[in-house]
């Protein structure tokens, strides 16, 4: 596994260095003051260096690193989500429970590989008990709206995100001890797809995919990004239990889900009247701006691998 990880790290280093060099070259040639797009591009690439470095550290610490890193990602994502939605004073204890009980417990389930409870703890127990607690508080004003927002918040930020480290608990015959590479495959393909869609969109984008939801998503970006990231998946098949063809199909499904995740996130932001979820990651916005695609891709990828590749 060390061999594959070394190749990935060298590959990412080459890609990021190329990106930084390109951005520097573009900025040097462009008229001053630099356009907002160029400034943002440089910020985005700089943030990628930091994110890749943090990921590499988490990978180094294996299961511990992954579980803790994604629990923290859930924390940041949930904070952004709850901040944006309506809540009332009487929701205080439910909100506290989401941060103080739901996140730690869900990641404990990931850690102990208790699959049976991991898949139902949030969609069954939390979804039933949280509105019950809210009802017991007796405050019915905008009840359905508050309860739905809380449920979507933990669904997106905790349940879906926790499927990334949960990949480490899958038992794929012939792939024992190498599950970290599944995590790397998913993250690189889905985040790579975001970047590729951005690049194809900026270079060739003409036809808006859905002007009412997101002004930045184009058909050209979508198709170019999906084709390129499926190819990326094929290239990376050597780190997975998949054949090259299977890898491209799995990558295609994951990236399509990722695209839909971005679309849903845009719809929520538009509905709430904001452009970004937060300001945690310079140039990108908040944690959810960076992870919206991963959020939708992770559970589907997890179940595809679990259904077709595990015993």
């Amino acid at each position: 596994m060390r061999h594959e990880i070394s190749i990935l790290i060298i590959g990412l280093f080459v890609v990021l260095s190329t990106a930084s060099a390109t951005a520097a070259l573009l900025s040097a040639r462009a008229p001053k003051p630099l356009s907002a797009t160029l400034v943002n591009l440089t910020q985005r690439i700089n943030a990628w260096w930091v994110m890749v470095a943090l990921m590499a550290v988490a990978f180094f610490f294996g299961r511990y690193g992954m579980t803790i890193l994604f629990a923290l990602i859930s924390f940041a994502a949930l904070r952004e989500f709850v901040t944006l939605t309506h809540s009332r004073r009487s929701d205080h204890w439910v909100l506290l429970g989401m941060f103080g009980i739901v996140i730690p417990f869900q990641y404990w389930l990931v850690w102990t590989a208790w699959y049976g409870l991991f898949v139902i703890f949030i969609p069954v127990y939390c979804f039933l008990l949280m509105p019950a607690i809210t009802a017991l508080h007796g405050d019915t004003e905008r009840f359905l709206e508050r309860v739905s927002a809380q449920q979507w918040a933990i669904m997106i930020s905790v349940y879906c995100v926790s499927h990334v480290p949960a990949l480490l608990t899958l038992n794929v015959p012939g792939f024992e001890g190498r599950n970290l590479l599944l995590v790397a495959f998913l993250i690189i393909v889905v985040q790579g797809s975001d970047v590729l869609q951005y690049i194809f969109g900026k270079l060739f984008g003409k036809h808006r995919f859905s002007p009412t939801v997101s002004p930045s998503k184009t058909w050209e970006g979508l198709i170019g990004g999906l084709v390129a990231s499926s190819l990326l998946g094929t290239l990376l098949s050597f780190i997975t239990p998949f054949s090259p063809l299977q890898a491209s199909a799995v990558a295609f499904v994951a990236c399509t889900m990722g695209f839909l995740g971005g679309l849903v996130a845009s719809a929520i932001k538009r509905d709430q009247g904001v452009k970004d979820w937060g300001h945690l990651i310079e140039g990108h916005g908040g944690m959810l701006d960076r992870t919206d695609s991963l959020v939708f891709a992770a559970p589907i990828f997890f179940h595809i691998v679990r259904y077709f590749w595990t015993v």
């Binding site: 924390f75 904070r79 952004e80 709850v82 901040t83 309506h86 809540s87 009332r88 004073r89 205080h92 909100l95 506290l96 941060f99 103080g100 009247g273 937060g278 300001h279 945690l280």
Partner: protein
Amino acid sequence: MNKLSLRTFTLLQTATSVGLSALAWAVTGVRPIWSGSQPSDRQRIYFANHTSHGDFILLSACLSEKERAITHAVAAAEYWGKSKLRRFIAEDMLSSVLISRQWTSPEENPISVMLSVLDQGHSLIIFPEGTRNMSDELLPFRSGLYNLSMARPDVELIPCWIENMSRVLPKGQFLPVPLLCRVVFGAPVAVAPGEERRAFLERARSELLALNPRPDRDD
């Protein structure tokens, strides 16, 4: 309290302020939005909406270390002077200035207490609503802001809108919900020549309200 003499921070006060600012960032990711004024170590009175004990911590987390060392929150002696422990927290740790609503002797007069702080070159954080607000609307302002400004017209009055703190730590709760908060610092407000007390207070209140980045929200 009566013989108020201020120094810059003791070690305990510095440690408390650094610790609380770090905590405020970890919980709320607090960041300042300078919209009409700029960070400065000149003498100021920051006035803000008040819904939570965390308000003062959030606001001072947005100031530089140097400004924090000379900026004191004004708090009610009736609450913070009730026990030895509370007084220790308020004065020896947070370096607040306690004022009494039911004052008797002239040196307890809240205005003279606050003026004595200003006269030593320090800045103040005040909550002109006078209490932690449980309602959805900003309460009418008490007169202190006007009196201070009339007495020391050189001191800048900076309105500061503290966002979301009523949801993070509502009155009566002690565990904070981590939500993102911003503090919006507005343009200085000054008493116009001949402006009446009530008119000024209402104007200061609406200047503060206008800083709310999400006025559509009732929370």
